[in-house]
């Protein structure tokens, strides 16, 4: 595959063009990957099977669910065709934080943290959903928040 940069005065904004004689899977995948990388977008599958483009910042949490990775956005559940560790590598670590082996949350969507008498640490999100984390991750979270 030829990859080239065209530098010309007529391009005032950065543009990415994928050129081929027919639109096949390779072209679709390339466009998806580039869009996700450049625009912070994610290709996801809704529960009804429709493919949708999600803005990463809208995702409340990514989590492992039955061998798949799911994402919660505004009360809806989507399936992402990526591994959790791949997502962890791609996401902005100032915004997304891995709170457990099976879950990454959006720090901007946290309402508060709560600890029970027995030491269960609950993370309550702005959509009132709940997640659990360990005290080690609380220490890491503190560092991420610059405290």
């Amino acid at each position: 595959m030829l990859v080239k940069a065209v530098i010309n005065d007529k391009y005032t904004n950065t543009e990415v063009h994928v050129c081929k004689d027919t639109s096949d899977e390779e072209v679709k995948n390339l466009i998806n990957e580039i869009s996700q990388m450049v625009n912070g977008e994610l290709v996801a599958q809704a529960e009804n099977g429709d493919r949708e483009i999600l803005n990463r910042l809208d995702v409340v949490r990514f989590y492992a669910d039955n061998q798949k990775v799911a994402a919660d956005v505004a009360g809806k559940r989507y399936t992402i065709a990526k591994k959790l560790y791949e997502l962890e590598g791609e996401l902005d670590e100032k915004i997304f934080f891995r709170i457990s082996k099976s879950e990454i949350i959006n720090l901007k969507k946290i309402q508060k943290l709560d600890m029970s008498f027995t030491g269960t640490i609950k993370i309550i999100m702005k959509d009132n959903s709940e997640s659990y984390t360990s005290r080690r991750n609380v220490v890491k979270l503190k560092k991420v928040l610059g405290l």
Binding site: I99, S100, K101, K108, I110, Q111, K112, L113, D114, M115, S116, F117, T118, G119, T120, I121, Y132, T133, S134, R135, R136, V138, V139, L141, K142, L145, G146, L147
Partner: protein, 149 residues
């Protein structure tokens, strides 16, 4: 997980031998007395002192392995860490206390046995209480930072 357990076993066994060696060198240098890392009663269980030393090192390895194996409990986030700590200390204690009793022959010295067990329990309680308070403070500061955003 298994790599960590094997490493813990090997490190603990070698650490046990190393600490015994260092103590032996220091004791001999300072006092000139003969030093044995294990009690005579423990050596009496085995055909020779060197076998007793090897078993002693292996038992320290088992202690290290137990602590490493039980660390998985701290990954169970839905169980509060007070409960995690109780499970961790009970299970490690079930393995480690009998080993320590056997190595040091504490069964022959009831007061030493009681003080060892009390020391074990008190240390665990103090560590859990300190962790609880630190975590609580961390959560308060995180919540304050979230509120300020």
């Amino acid at each position: 997980m298994w790599k960590r357990c094997i490493k813990s076993f090997i490190y603990s066994a070698f650490a046990g031998m190393l600490v015994n060696l260092i103590i032996e060198i220091i004791v001999r240098a300072v006092s000139g007395f003969d030093y044995s890392p294990v009690t005579p009663e423990f050596i009496a269980f085995f055909p020779s002192a060197s076998i007793a030393y090897s078993v002693d090192a292996l038992l320290y390895g088992v202690i290290g392995l137990t602590y490493a194996l039980m660390m998985f409990i701290f990954g169970c986030d839905r169980i509060g860490f007070v409960i995690q700590s109780i499970i961790y200390y009970i299970t490690t204690g079930i393995v480690c206390i009998p080993i320590i009793i056997f190595i040091w022959r504490l069964d022959k010295y009831p007061s030493a046995l009681i003080s060892t067990i009390i020391g074990f329990i008190v240390t665990d309680i103090v560590m859990t209480v300190i962790s609880y308070n630190i975590t609580k403070k961390n959560i308060v500061s995180i919540n304050a930072a979230i509120d300020n955003q």
